[in-house]
């Protein structure tokens, strides 16, 4: 058998290696991974300083405009952790409000394992949060420019009419855990990145800025767009939850689609497409 034939057979079985992720995509991906880790855990530290979320300009102390409250409540059975969401009370002892072992309970909303620092320190939480906030925004700016120029935005992020047409089939594939490895993103994949980059990232940045009294003076429209500083704080928290959900699905999909291949493509840029991929598609870069 000639080496050429062997190579062709190999390609048909294993699929071809294609250059899938540009250096800009890969670097900003890992910068964000680090930033979001620190932003999440320092953000939860900041949240613990006042673990209630409201709708409106201000926080109701003499009236109730809270949509979420976490805290410790003294009951006949001792201290219990309570979480109130839209008026519904849930006993979250062990997780939210009261956590840790019974002989050494911690009375914090979010348990210390999920905050930076692990002990209560709002000042440090803010230092960490704002540092990584700047890096996060800088990376988004770099990514946006690079992706606009190299076509990543148009090709992989913005959904086209064909993506919407292909959506039902793609949903059916996902439901059956049937993943094919293509050079290009499939409709659901595109849509989820679209939601993250075009909706969640700008939303979490702008609602974060709305919490800044300085920025509210510089850009007063922020308060009008989000319906007040406290609503903005609530949206900021909600966007965080959606990003955490995205992260979980993202990691599960990497595991299901082939962690070695996926990690290689996000580290080196090279991705092995499925054997069924047309060589034409694979060759395009």
């Amino acid at each position: 058998m000639s080496s050429e034939t062997a190579e062709r057979l190999d390609r048909e079985q294993k699929g071809q290696l294609v250059y899938r992720q540009s250096i800009w995509t890969r670097v900003t991906h890992w910068v964000w991974a680090i930033c979001l880790f620190f932003l999440l855990l320092s953000g939860l530290q900041i949240f613990n300083a006042h673990p209630s979320l409201y709708i409106g300009q201000e926080s109701g102390f003499e009236y109730n405009n809270a949509v979420l409250r976490m805290g410790r409540v003294l009951t006949d059975e001792g201290s219990r952790g309570h979480t109130v969401i839209f008026g519904q009370t849930f006993d979250t002892t062990g997780i939210f409000g009261v956590s840790g072992p019974p002989d050494n309970p911690q009375y914090v909303a979010i348990p210390s394992a999920l905050t930076i620092p692990s002990f209560r320190d709002l000042a440090t939480g803010r230092v960490v949060h704002f540092f990584f906030g700047w890096i996060f925004v800088a990376a988004l700016f770099v990514w946006f420019l690079a992706s606009l120029i190299n076509g990543h935005l148009r090709r992989d992020i913005l959904p086209s009419a064909a993506d919407f047409r292909g959506l039902p089939a793609d949903i059916a594939d996902h439901a059956r855990f049937r993943f094919q490895r293509h050079r290009f993103y499939k409709p659901l994949q595109k849509l989820s990145y679209f939601v993250v980059f075009v909706i969640l990232f700008p939303l979490i940045i702008l609602t974060g800025l709305t919490m800044s009294p300085g920025m509210d003076s510089a850009w007063p429209w922020l308060l009008d767009v989000f319906g007040g500083r406290q609503t903005a704080r609530t949206i900021h928290f909600g966007a965080m939850l959606l990003l955490v959900l995205f992260f979980i699905v993202h990691v599960v999909m990497v595991l299901l689609a082939g962690p070695f291949n996926e990690m290689r493509s996000m580290i080196t840029g090279w991705y092995r497409v499925g054997p069924q991929t047309h060589s034409q598609e694979a060759d395009r870069s």
Binding site: H50, S59, N104, F119, A123, V127, V128
Partner: protein, 269 residues
């Protein structure tokens, strides 16, 4: 301003500052992100580096923010509750107790430092000066907000009376309240701001809250409003105002009580 929660965190950080890991260890039963606890040490090199992001925030906000741009003002109908008291709510120093018993009749605001003519003002004199009333939103560093109506004399007016010298860069507010009582004695609250915020139209020395005299819990007889920054900048129970070129020699040198405990000097975010 500040609260019990904040005070607790402050005490924890001081313990860390003194090099004890007991506080961390006791809270680390769930041990997750404790490997980043070193960031809580106020003298840690990494922390000092990432803290500089706040200098960037200060510069960028000063660039974006016109010097005289106002914080949002609200309508009467948006005052739906009393101003939530926070931090010190009942100072126990002898000096303050005496003034309070006399209903602040003998109170005099001292204004000095880098000024041409140091002066002092009684509460009646302050009330007779041009006043400004504003309904604004108080944003606490903890995350909550509260809308209230504040009445007072613009700080710019006072600064013009005493004539600020060109070397002056900051206004320091010294306070009556012993926010912390230690074995070494009382720690009094203090704060500082730059002259841009000091001369801002909404920066007032408030003696009135929601159409009444400023209550003790909210800083009687006089507190400052710096509406484009967070609550901890807005010192209550002001005893004197000092114009300085640097605050390095005051307190622990960071420009305020909470700043000395790791909070950012610029609290526009």
């Amino acid at each position: 301003m500040t609260s019990g929660k904040l005070s607790r965190s402050g005490k924890l950080s001081r313990r860390r500052f003194l090099g004890t890991s007991a506080a961390a260890a006791s809270s680390l039963v769930l041990a997750g992100c404790d490997q980043f606890d070193f960031l809580g040490q106020r003298d840690d090199g990494v922390r000092n580096t990432i803290e500089r992001a706040n200098d960037l925030t200060y510069r960028v906000q000063r660039l974006l923010l016109g010097q005289d741009w106002l914080a949002r003002e609200y309508s009467e109908s948006e005052v739906r509750q009393g101003q939530r008291p926070n931090g010190s709510v009942d100072p126990t120093t002898q000096e303050y107790q005496t003034l309070r018993q006399q209903n602040f009749a003998n109170y005099r605001l001292q204004v000095g430092g880098l000024v041409e003519s140091p002066m002092s003002f009684s509460l009646d004199e302050l009330r007779a000066m041009p006043s400004r009333t504003q309904i604004t939103r108080h944003d606490c560093v903890e995350g909550w907000s509260c809308i209230a109506k504040w009445t007072g004399v613009p700080l710019a007016y006072i600064l013009d009376q005493v004539q600020v010298r060109p070397q002056a860069r900051y206004v320091v507010f010294r306070c009556f309240d012993n926010i912390e009582r230690t074995q070494a004695g009382d720690v009094l609250y203090y704060e500082s701001c730059d002259l841009i915020d000091a001369r801002h139209a909404q920066t007032i020395l408030a003696y009135g809250l929601n159409d009444e005299a400023l209550p003790v819990a909210n800083g009687a007889p006089l507190r400052v409003r710096i509406e484009r920054q967070l609550g901890y900048k807005m010192a209550k129970y002001i005893s004197s105002i000092e114009l300085v070129s640097s605050f390095a020699d005051i307190g622990l040198g960071q420009g305020g009580y909470w700043e000395d405990r790791g909070y950012d000097w610029y609290a526009g975010i």
